[in-house]
Symmetry: C2
Subunit: 205 residues, 2 copies
Amino acid sequence: CNYKAPNDCTVVLKNRSLWQKFNELETEMIITKTGRRMFPALQVQIADLDPHAYYCIFLEMTTVSHCRYKYSSSGGWAPSGPEEAQSPQCVYLHPESPATGEYWMSQAVSFGRLKLTNTPAPPVGHVVLSSMHKYQPRIVIAKTSDPRVIDFVPRMNVVFPETQFIAVTAYQNEEITKLKIDNNPFAKGFRENGQSKCKRKRVSE
Amino acid sequence: CNYKAPNDCTVVLKNRSLWQKFNELETEMIITKTGRRMFPALQVQIADLDPHAYYCIFLEMTTVSHCRYKYSSSGGWAPSGPEEAQSPQCVYLHPESPATGEYWMSQAVSFGRLKLTNTPAPPVGHVVLSSMHKYQPRIVIAKTSDPRVIDFVPRMNVVFPETQFIAVTAYQNEEITKLKIDNNPFAKGFRENGQSKCKRKRVSE
DNA sequence: ATCTTTCCCACCTAGGTGTGAACC
DNA sequence: ATGGTTCACACCTAGGTGGGAAAG
């Protein structure tokens, strides 16, 4: 076996300041049956790969503290009971895998299409999480052109602590909701700073 | 060199009856500076590949008759002068390349993201054509995991004559326009069969 | 009661259509 | 004049937001 471990490459987190703002408040990510994107999305710039070798890149959701959480408006998030069984479907293979080092380094690598879900058997591209549990995304770069052998080849793990989050089915901390609304273009309709002309309303019968 | 030629695989054109309807009228495809999708899009179902080998699949636009065309409402399309110089950027690598035979065969392979353009130096995913020239799409399956060597490995070419078309900057045959409007979901607003409630109009000053 | 999940909704982003006037 | 190209536009498809009621 003459594989060379890809342990000398460089991975830089994009939109880091936004992640930090969320992390200071304890980031929450919505999970739904049909799958919900992460916001912010994980995006990294990679350097120092072998330009001519093939790599598969994926994202793994790991549990960081082995407990279930609970939110109270007074005290925020706090542990509340033991960890529940985790689904094995917590790995997202970047859809452009496999590709050459040259390709991965030519532009930012985005995990914006990944979706979080609580459905037991979701379609590909979805990752199964448990609500009220805390996760730490881990980016894995495996030196292989075959996604099926990613567990058996040299790999590099990269973890950005500011990207950890608690999975929820509805936002708990309204400061988090506000930060999402103010920064996610798709939530523009909920902004209050004069950009949106109409307030939200429901049809009543 | 012990490559085995992929010459025994099977490629079937999807939405063939729609292609035939267009072809009977002489298909036209719009090209623009910013790039225009083809409609119908080329879609094929592939079988009999080696499930474990890697393949790159691409689409090549070849000129079929070496002349420029002209349209007249009375006589339709007719040759009108010699062929103009063709751009070498007439190859579209399917964005999921490279992938295993197993993957390519697991679902229809669609070239729906390909865009046709008349701009000299377009972004990747665009193919440069000359207006008023006739093209024949050619699907190429190359047995390699490296897109850079597709010219030097065994490859299989597949051509469906009913998919040939004339590139235009504006539709010439109004029967073609009608067929596009009736079948392309994005042109639904132009349909006349009661589905659309508003007629097209311009703001005038 | 309380906490968590689900569903439909108005409101957005993003971008694919042919039109018809203007331009060349 | 004529023929071909470009552009802004109304109108669509497709799908990502959190809100709030209802359900579990």
